[in-house]
Amino acid sequence: MTILANSNQPKSNDNDLITAVIDGIAVRVPKGTLAIRAAEMLGIEIPRFCDHPALSPVAACRMCLVEIEGMPKPQPSCAITLTEGMQVKTQNSSQVASSAQEGVMEFLLLNHPLDCPTCDKGGECPLQNQAMSNGRADSRFEGTKRNFQKAININAQVLLDRERCVSCARCTRFADEIAGDPSLELLERGAKQQVGVADDQPFESYYSGNTVQICPVGALTSAAYRFRARPFDLVSSESVCEHCASGCSLRTDSRRGKVLRRLAGDDSEVNEEWNCDKGRFAFRHLMQDRITTPLVREHGELRPASWPEAIRYAAEGLRNQRAAVLAGGRLTLEDAYAYSRFARVALGTNNVDFRNRTASSEEQDFLTNHVAGTGLGVTYQDLEDAQVVVVIGFEPEEESPIIMLRLRKAVRNKTLKVIAIDSANSLGFKKLNADLRLTKPGNESAAISELIKDLQDQNSIILVGERLASSHGAFSATVAVAEKVGARIGWVPRRAGERAAVDAGLLPNLLPAGRKVFEPRDREVVASAWGVSVEHIPTKPGLTQLEIISSAVQGEIDAIVTAGVDINDVANHAAFAAALNKTFVVSLENRASSVIEFADVVLPVGAITERAGTFVDWEGRLRTFDAVMQESLALTDARVLHLIAIELGHTFKDDAKVTSLRSSYSSLGAVSKPGTMNLVAASTTKTGLVLAGWHHLLDNGSLQAGEPHLAATARAVVAKVSSETAQANGLISGNRVIVRSKLGAITLPLEISEVAPETIWLPLNSEGSSVAMQLQIDIGAEVSVSDGGAI
């Protein structure tokens, strides 16, 4: 039998295969394959605790002992690499192995509490299961079991019951090897050995929940799930994370229509088997503040309405109006596709934009020519295989945490160098050992042009983040450098739905699949996919989000359809509010939002657990999922739009079901080569102090609402400047600093750090630091600062 290498096994060609024998079965595997892995491939299950395919072997638990011919003692199969001709006998064919395993199992249970009836792991516990299959029926131990004080917090979210721990060191190795947050350690020795953290230093990690998942016993539990359910009462569904563009595969466990926990799903091409704490723990938004019936505004107040009434009401308000669609970056591909079509055909407009954030026409040009409809581009595996990855305006750990893990994996293997062009240093950059080029916001383009000498003759990838939209000339410089050195570009937005929005054509100049509004041929292809005549696709240039808002304020737009937008996300939110105030607003939402107070009709749509769909991750990979709550009657956005369109007298070829929209989209094919972007030159360097920042992974984002334990693991909210900037502006480390724009101020503790010159760094949407709301400016804007006194 020939077994191919999987991602955690050495790669090899045919010449590097060796033949070993396990329980009498010959197996051909790449050199370097561990005995336990080869046995797995043959379907031979060797019991184990410390072994984990993604972690380096420790051979500590001794559960996996096997007999190897020619070796006097039983050997840990999790640490033995097979050699040519090696004869391995597992518990299936060797008395030595099975008695060794029974002995170890007896030892493991010696000090293990009989907690199963109250332990969260009960029912899905490797110790429980293997005790049943490889253990003795009763215990020969008559003494007193080791005792610890009850659960301790290793951070606000993760608890540890030390007496349940089997010292497998999976959690500590995960912390060290995968997350790079090595503050979780084994302490003490002998039977007193225990996992722990330093007194004043909790396990601060965005990935801490993974330790709960890989703990082979119930020693690590999460505050959110502890004592909530029994695994056998849960229904598990494969799903996809809605929080960011990393595209993690998840497992969602629910009971009677309620999500109780989420775990990382297994996907070797994407998240391997990890996820971040936001994706794992932030799911109460799926159930909290839900809108359950349609609402219509009557005498200034919203009141419940029936679906037919609300649909009619919406249609009447939109009929023959100068309309626009603002559908934020959280939609599935199918829904985005439906909005794109609805705007063009039912509303007759190209006024459509998904970018409820800093945006620029240069970015739009870049997205049009280098992203829209390009399908799967740079992949996680490409990142792992590259020699150099440059990240620009993108902090991987904060803005797409799985990218950080993949990059770190390659950095640890010493095959990859990371270069970062950004405004401030960060834990993530440090963990990537990044060559950080501190750059004042606005000056990125010059720093990017310098990259040529780093990337010449290298297998290199440039990852650009959405923050780059605030830096004039940066996208152009990136494209120019990439073309010169043959680097590939990946665009990493923050939100899970942004890439799908680009692909679906939620931009004024774009139709789905990279087709362009102003290409007659493209319009024809799209019209035929939709089953409408080509005249139904408007040719009049559309407006961007900024233009839609200002036009509406000036009375040039009458009606706006919104989906998944929070007006507080943008610096011009005052104008946004005024625009919504002046227009007829149709809001498709699943929970109460900042738009509702302006809405004339609110149409409730299903949360992602209630319907099928597809997210497109940053790679351009389709992440298709089914409804978790199969019995839910909730409607998709697409379905609601379809009903309004019918009311407005429009029909399409399909019935707006998720599967039909998916095939309609895919019938359009992919763009084969990038278009030509209009490269713009950088503007002159700004003088004076400017604002920099990014979003912390855990912050005030509305999808993180109602998760107190998770919120307590967020990073400290501080402003950062370099010591030179502090000195020049009379700022004192440890004091507060007041940051002012023309419209407001933010006061935060000041930290002296590695920050670009003439720059102050703020978290963009954390407690006490909501830049859009309080300062009402974008990054790169000028600010003034002053000392805010001692804390």
């Binding site: 006097p72 002995g103 350690e185 002998g190 039977a191 050995q193």
Partner: protein
Amino acid sequence: MTTPLVPNLTLHWDDADSHTLTGYQRHGGYSALKKAFTAGADGVIQIVKDSGLRGRGGAGFPTGMKWGFVPQNDGKPHYLVVNADESEPGACKDIPLMIANPHSLVEGVIISSFAIRANHAFIYIRGETPHPIRRVRAAVAAAYQAGLLGKNIQGSGFDLDVVVHSGAGAYICGEETALLDSLEGRRGQPRLKPPFPAVAGLYASPTVINNAETIASVPAIINNGADWYKSYGTEKSPGIKLFAVSGHVKRPGIYEAPLGITMRELITYAGGMKSDLPLKFWIPGGSSVPMLTADHLDIPLTYEDMAAAGTMLGTGTPMVFDTSTSVVKAVIRWIEFYKHESCGKCTPCREGTYWMVDILKRMEKGKAQLSDMDLLVDISAQISGRSFCALGDAAATPFPAALKYFKEEFEEVIKMAGAQA
């Protein structure tokens, strides 16, 4: 004919200044260094190989062969690490050696480092014993002063820096890979092998770890030649060794003798049994090796003969027990020691020692049953050969070994307690 003692490392211990540079040099100290530089690195390795010197840390691995495993011209720094963590019950030879004759160790370190192309050496000394730490630190400082350490030692072009490291207070830190972790500032727990230290040891660089006595033996071998060394001992166990005799003898202490000397001879040198009570049992190495009885007093103390007798020479630090000793209590104390020192990494040793102590404590309190003896044998078998490192094996040794010769005594203790209850 009695085997004569051969004082070599111990020859001048009676001098008041034996621990000083002057005292060491008065008797030709540091003269081996010149010879080593003349012989060249490979020459030194060859002499040590030819001498047949075996590691004195317990396992008896041929020292020259170990040095030969270090890859040459690999562009990486090499390190020599001296294991002077001596913490095993009964083992007490390295500490007196470092107190009385620290310069023999320093000279050995220079020659050995030169041979394996190391420019940095570390001496890891048991942290609970400040006296030898002070003595070795003083010796190292004196050697620097005298130009015997540092840059271009004696014009040879060879540079060496030596760090004396105070140990972390755990028996497991004497296990060579745990020692490396400890030296690197981590918690001392044994490492997974491969990679072996000779390839990736301290700071992932090629490293030789040798016992303090092993390294201190090198200068005399270089000075007097491999043949001189081999003229003592047996073919498989050549040379001389420090035997640290402790327990119920009149004059416990260090007796330097050729390998192959017998326990009976050593007891005689040590003045005979303490209270003239008969010998009950003895242990050739530290507590980690199986015990023997009066029937075994004439077996030569060599690696091979001890193995044939079902035990090991170990560190060559025999403990002698007379008939006043309860073998049951001795076994309990030893196993308690292993439980206390188990590092916790692997299940059999961590949990098995906990369990054995639980049963033995019951036995001591008169609450054991006869079946507990089988249980203890079972537990020992479940630990032995299945643990991560040799500490586990050592913990599994005392009970079965004691049972082999003193089963009745265990039965009696259990029964007597039962009768009292």
